[in-house]
Symmetry: C2
Subunit: 252 residues, 2 copies
Amino acid sequence: MSERIWTAGLIVIGDEILSGRTHDKNIAQVAAWLQVQGIRLDEVRVVADVQERIVEAVDALRARNDYLFTTGGIGPTHDDITVDAVAAALGVPVVVHPEARAILERYYADKPGGLTQDRLRMARVPEGADLIPNRMSGAPGIKIGNVMLMAGVPHITAGMLDALTGTLEGGAPLLSETMGCWAAESEVASILREVERAHEQCQIGSYPFFREGKVGANFVIRSTDADALAACARDLREALSRAGHETTAGGI
Amino acid sequence: MSERIWTAGLIVIGDEILSGRTHDKNIAQVAAWLQVQGIRLDEVRVVADVQERIVEAVDALRARNDYLFTTGGIGPTHDDITVDAVAAALGVPVVVHPEARAILERYYADKPGGLTQDRLRMARVPEGADLIPNRMSGAPGIKIGNVMLMAGVPHITAGMLDALTGTLEGGAPLLSETMGCWAAESEVASILREVERAHEQCQIGSYPFFREGKVGANFVIRSTDADALAACARDLREALSRAGHETTAGGI
């Protein structure tokens, strides 16, 4: 019984990532969150704050995935153009969302300057969009069809993901089991290949490391089927043990 | 006098990034290194360990950039398929590089098992490739034309970047100046927009943060022209000051 696989694309928008100034934290948190929703992250693109480049990425990743997420570019400044770019890609106009406007009015009521024109930019959405609640600061995220527009600041994004938890249809979550051993990856490559070949419902990833002057590797077995995962993990553990490599459950 | 702009694409290869298990560190380090070489990082794609997806990304990013970098998938295990995918994209066969083989023979001479078939996988290159030295472990990186294949493990990648320093033709390095202030981004958005508009050789990025219970933002001005950069920074500092926002040089 082969299950439908749900996939998502992610577009990280921002010159600050491409310049190396800011270390992206959203790829990892969106990826980990999607796993729990039973949605596989299929591809990530990091693109500049340039409308045509965002539109191109939206078109490409939306066509091949069930969901598309973006992070970044939904703030109040001139370089925040994600809403305009996504609206252009979807062929809809940009409108002010009444509820977003009301949220911002409340949020800025007691703040210097109140709801300025610049702040009101954060109430602009592609026509037909719903809002994603933002517990951390005023401006909400945006959901239009299968496209979710989220903040660039990681802890705000985290709150938006939390608000979306359980609201998107997904498949069986991808399960994983990790084991590690103090062996060079190259010593055990043939074992990994053979065990993976014998367990077609599973994938084995190998992640080498160098610590305390010694080489080792962690192996992550992934499957949507718990029994298949357990059988594959058992076979891998035994095969490594026969070759003289004792493993540590959960990884090293 | 408009200068030629040199650009690069980066493909991060690896299911471990897309699953959220591993936090990518290569995007930031490649991005920062490229800045110093006078090469602009134009786009990043994170793709799975699937040959057709790697080939697609190589085709797309090679066509529009002067250079293409990949990280990940050049180790000894079955999920290391970057060499095969890049060779397929370039339309050349995969061959064993004699110098890479010699490096691996020396490296594994005193290690258990010696140079096994699996380890010899790391001497495979697209035909016509040169090697990128690897100071950290045995297996070298690979340079074929304008495509650089590097390790996934960040400290090994760092060594390979170091070996490439100064060997790639680039333009004037992008210069930047950062200043921060304790103001909500939304309070100063119009100032940023107007100053940027008045300085067409410069771009201003705005990076909000929330710390110690207060909001603030750092502004990064970028230009390849030092005089233009200094003039823009001065105007921005003065405009913010007139609006009651004193700035901290270098950012907060």
